[in-house]
């Protein structure tokens, strides 16, 4: 049975997701030793700017006009309103070339082989619900449940699934939720109009469990470690990463932190891109 990693990258004028995906793919290959494929609507950008890219397959998706915008911070003091194209994730079942697939966001940086073990498990869907913010003081309730009175939150940032009739139904459900987002957003009392894959996955898992706390999905090994877009990546070396984490009640002031051998979701894509370009990330 084939195994591999898939990364999504759909560029917008503000963020070069392809650049992030190339970096994330190299890290993933280095630590997991598995082929990596890219799903993108920007193949020509990839081939022009990253001719020596590490991708095993490049899978094209149609370019869709942007339907939503989101504010991304770059550290605690700067922010930009950017186009946000996140509507193809639910099509992963049909797009992946692998039987067992690890799907990661282009800003999920792998520094360990912990996810490799997930490929030897016989589970339909493995996904994180447990997470840890590197900044200790921040409220993490938004990543515990999709609202304080609703269902458990799951991260669509990284997950492993096998192709079978069960996961086919799951991704069909995710797609259905996406197509009827206004309805599901109100039904689950979600306070943002933005479509988020995390929410759609959380709702679909809830439905797959027959609206109970079932065992459809299994926790991925480890914990989803993340830094938010108000934090800044300042350096990496081998399997280590260094961040400036925003301080509580002191905008523009930061605390330094270092991780060793931890996979990290770096939500500050602008800082990550700056770092890849050879800057310090600041």
């Amino acid at each position: 049975m084939s195994r591999g990693i898939v990364i999504f990258a759909q560029n917008n004028p503000q963020v070069d997701y392809i650049k992030l995906a190339v970096f994330a793919a190299k890290q993933a290959q280095k630590h997991l030793d598995l082929p990596v494929s890219l799903i993108t609507d920007s193949r020509s950008w990839l081939e022009q700017n990253y001719p020596d890219h590490p991708f095993d397959h490049v899978i094209d998706v149609d370019f869709n006009e942007v339907s939503q915008h989101r504010v991304f911070y770059d550290g605690a003091l700067a922010s930009k309103k950017v186009d946000w194209r996140n509507h193809t994730r639910s099509k992963i079942y049909d797009l992946t070339p692998y039987y067992t697939t690890l799907v990661i966001d282009s800003d999920y940086i792998i520094n360990s082989d912990i996810l490799k073990q997930a490929f030897s498990r016989d589970a339909d869907l493995q996904i994180y619900s447990n997470s840890m913010d590197l900044a200790v003081w921040r409220n993490t309730e938004e990543f515990a449940r999709i609202n304080p009175y609703s269902v458990k939150f799951y991260w669509a940032t990284a997950f492993v699934f096998q192709k079978n009739t069960v996961t086919e139904s799951f991704f069909y459900l995710v797609n259905y939720i996406k197509s009827n987002w206004k309805y599901f957003r109100m039904l689950y009392n979600i306070d943002t109009t933005l479509f988020r894959n995390d929410y759609a996955f959380s709702i679909a898992i809830h439905l797959m469990n027959n609206k109970t706390q079932g065992s459809f999905s299994v926790e991925l090994p480890g914990t989803m470690i993340y830094v938010k877009d108000r934090d800044i990546l300042v350096g990496t070396h081998c399997n280590k990463m260094k961040f400036l984490l925003e301080k509580e009640n002191h905008p523009g002031e930061y605390t330094l932190a270092k991780t060793t051998g931890l996979d990290v979701h770096v939500m500050n894509k602008i800082s990550l891109a700056r770092y890849i370009d050879g800057g310090s990330g600041v």
Partner: protein, 115 residues
């Protein structure tokens, strides 16, 4: 600013960085404790080691053990499994102790987070 106040703020900043780093190395330790066998996941703990040791002491050579997701996993060689999880525990704990002692004696923030 009064020099002593400035120093107090610098110490507070150092303490905050140290506390954050201790939390991160504890998470690194927790991830290193994860052990896989036959598709089952175990976070190695003292309890697991003692439990498996007890099974071997009672003369069992194999057993079904529930993993962290409550999946039943057949361990067909308990002695070998015991050695594996003991090694995982020892290596992870030793590395955690090294990291802990390393950052504990550092007095500068730049040294604590040096790449």
């Amino acid at each position: 600013m009064d020099e002593r106040i400035e120093k107090a703020f610098a110490v507070a900043n150092y303490m905050s960085t140290l506390a954050g780093q201790k939390r991160i190395i504890l998470e690194e330790y927790n991830q290193q404790l994860i052990h896989y066998t036959n598709g089952a996941t175990f976070k190695v703990s003292r309890e697991l080691i003692v439990f498996v040791h007890t099974l071997t002491e009672l003369g069992n050579t194999d057993a079904v053990v529930l993993d962290d997701n409550n999946f039943p996993a057949l361990i067909d060689n308990l002695q070998e499994f015991l050695e594996e999880i003991s090694n995982v525990y020892n290596e992870a704990t030793r590395e955690y102790a090294d990291k802990y002692n390393d950052i504990r004696v550092k007095r500068k923030i730049s040294d604590i987070v040096e790449l």
